[in-house]
Symmetry: C2
Subunit: 455 residues, 2 copies
């Protein structure tokens, strides 16, 4: 585990919405801090997405284990004029003591299925809302995008390149991690490499070529220093650049070790075809072709469908910001309090009350149907939610390494029906059913709440 | 300034793409570490955007002042097998020694205009690319979105609510800051409040209502604890909720201090109209109406156009992720090296070589035209780029407070021609010209490079 700086938002109870703190004081004042169950789920699949991949659990558990306030934090809260000294004193000793259930990182999930379930005194469970959502929403979003890119690449290498335009440093690191989780072979971000143990990869930039008076001299100098490197050939004229790589190969003979050329602009498919012919004609069959420049899953798919001889793809911005779907309708909702199921009425979307479990049915190695049921129901199939933390301490299932999660994610993608794995929207969405017992709980609670409103 | 944790990506030289480090070693090995000029700009306005607002400079300067490597970082780099001990020794002493020019935070900018200009030995200027881009791209993107939301609100209050679905913690904090910069009155994120000195605001969540057996009892308890609070009325039946607030007003009489009700679902315009009538009929003219729930600038604009009596808007996800435009085509490009202008050829988009200045012409208090010229040209108008750092140390213009930047941002929006301020795409984009001298430099360098390619 990496070292945790003191002011890291991931360990600060102040990374929360103000109303969580005002409500917490109210719970404390009213003496109503009983056990609550909150569930994190998303309401519907965004257009063009057939599934979402759960990610980010590790950071959530890390936060929950270390979350607290400093005296500086308390001094700041005092300035807001909203909190009694009694309440601030209570916050001083804050530590998360609850239980967490979650689906393993890398698991494919569908609308209304809890990804994370927090069971704790309501003061604690409520205070961590913003952090839990923030740390699961984006990783799940970007892992789902990465799954599509890796699927489109159909076995060719994908490298994550998106740090520059990711939304801040945390997003850059998380995007690199999520891409690797879903099968990318590495990232360009060195800090992500160090922090998560992900392979770091890179080529060269146009600026390196431009600082040399001569492109060929730049290639020669870089190749001498980094024998297995990738040379960027499109600074001036792409096919001229390829010719210079071939010339370098002729000059160096057996000492030529350049592993790849990179194309970063223009008609990547046509340029890759020409470059491949030129390299092959020169006997440089081993020099691979790496393509980058504004790629997403659709462009990768189109290049491969057109037969472009591209061996590896660098995918940046559109992956790291999940360009077509930059947010999910994900929420963290109270479903039970003091042992009784809860729900709100005014939403047009049904929210099912009570603590739940998700059961997945698998046939012939493919997932076919999920049932969302009560937590205590016995239903046939694989239960997705597992206990990962108890009394504020991680359990074994909460200590899954990135490599283990990556293996799990791969098997999850392999278990997807073809229609869901496809980049195209599935004509028939995956079946998610509500168990009769859960439906009955919902209907009964709705009747009670409606009667209370009209009474 | 807030305290800076040791592992903060903003002070780690490892928050960079691997190729920056391999190129740096190459520069060191080749003895070619001469002065470079890099410029950060965006190439074109995204669809539906008439301008971009520059933001994020403070974090960039903060990083540049403190950036370095730790022994742990060096140990990690050693494991990659790419770097000589001589180079690692050079990195150990790394500190940024360059000069930075930038447009002030909150300034409106247009395509091809440098927002930030870094002048430093190429090893330094190149290594900071990912960090500079990452720390300017997202803040500028989200500030531009916030400008539209605040403009749409037409004087009504806007509160930033987007932490949960922002892309990670860094993005959440930056979105809160950018929204305040552009005129939002505050944020719900408490850590952003503490870190940046932004007002923090909040109401109550549905879960608070749900933990009480009775909505009216929940209102009474909360209002007793927080006299000037906002009560959320849509947990069960919105207008029923409003009636309960009115009942509470009748019961409390002079002691009733509730400041607002919040609507978070349903037809916000119609509900606000009904609620206003009910509150007014009960004599509660002072109780304001706060609306939230999936809002963006277009919905705010439509509500106001329809005459909805809404006094304040909570705007979350769509602002914090810049939902319609989650990235800009922003780049950090070498434009001069060793005293000579540089450019690449293969791009279809012209990139102008050499160090630049942007001159803005203002007529009758509105901006009318910009000219991008050579850095050393004398052109009539306001120069946008100002020196903010010299020899690695901030200058006065690099120490602008958030409040000062906020005043500047407001005057910038006021100076926009109406057509650009509008939410609708401008029929005629803002005029940005290239000075004849810069155009001549570009044409001459293009001829030289093309001759070198064909020769």
């Amino acid at each position: 585990m990496h070292d945790r700086p003191r002011d890291d938002p991931l360990r600060s109870l102040l990374f929360t919405d103000l109303y969580e703190l005002t409500m917490a004081r109210a719970y404390a004042a009213e003496g109503t801090d009983q056990e609550a169950v909150f569930e994190l789920f998303f309401r519907k699949l965004p257009p063009g997405r057939n599934y979402i991949v759960a990610a980010g659990l590790g950071d959530v558990l890390d936060s929950l284990e270390t979350l607290g306030v400093t005296e500086d934090d308390l001094d700041y809260l005092r300035t807001l004029g909203l909190f009694s000294e009694a309440f601030l004193g209570q916050l001083r000793g804050f530590r998360f003591t609850g239980e967490v259930w979650a689906v393993p990182e890398g698991t494919v999930v569908f609308p209304d299925e809890p990804l994370v379930q927090v069971v704790a005194p309501i003061l604690e469970a409520q205070l961590v809302e913003a952090l839990v959502l923030n740390q699961v929403h984006f990783p799940s979003l970007v892992a789902s995008k990465a799954a599509r890119v890796v699927t489109a690449a159909a076995g060719r290498d994908v490298v994550e390149f998106g740090s520059r335009r990711a939304h801040g440093t945390d997003a850059a690191l998380k995007a690199a991690r999520a891409a690797y989780l879903m099968g990318a072979i590495g990232t360009s971000n060195v800090l992500a490499g160090r922090r998560y143990g992900i392979p770091v990869l890179g080529t060269m930039a146009h600026s390196y070529i431009q600082t040399h008076d001569d492109e060929a001299a730049a290639f020669a100098a870089f190749a001498a220093l980094y024998p297995g490197t990738t040379l960027l050939v499109d600074t001036y004229d792409t096919l001229e650049g390829v010719r210079k790589v071939i010339d370098l190969g002729r000059r160096l003979g057996d000492r030529f070790r350049v592993r790849a050329i990179r194309l970063d602009s223009g008609d990547l498919g046509a340029l890759a075809g020409h470059a491949r012919q030129m390299l092959d004609a020169a006997g440089l069959h081993g020099v691979r072709i790496f393509a980058s420049g504004g790629l997403d899953e659709h462009e990768v798919d189109a290049l491969i469908a057109a037969g472009a001889p591209i061996d590896a793809f660098g995918v940046g911005t559109k992956l790291a910001v999940s360009e077509d779907v930059p947010s999910l309708d994900m929420a963290y909702k109270l479903v039970a309090y003091a042992g009784r199921p809860r729900m709100k009425l005014s939403s047009r979307k049904a929210i099912y009350p009570g603590r739940k479990q998700v059961i997945r049915r698998v046939e012939d190695g493919r997932i076919v149907r999920d049932v969302i049921g009560r937590h205590d129901e016995t239903l046939e199939g694989e239960p997705l939610l597992q206990p990962v933390m108890r009394r504020g301490a991680r359990l074994a299932a909460g200590r899954v390494s990135l490599e283990e999660a990556r293996v799990h994610a791969r098997s999850e993608l392999e278990r997807l029906p073809e229609e869901l794995r496809s980049l195209a929207p599935a004509e028939v969405p995956y079946r998610v059913e509500i168990s009769p017992a859960l439906q009955a709980d919902h209907d009964a609670l709705r009747r009670t709440l409606e009667a209370a409103q009209s009474g």
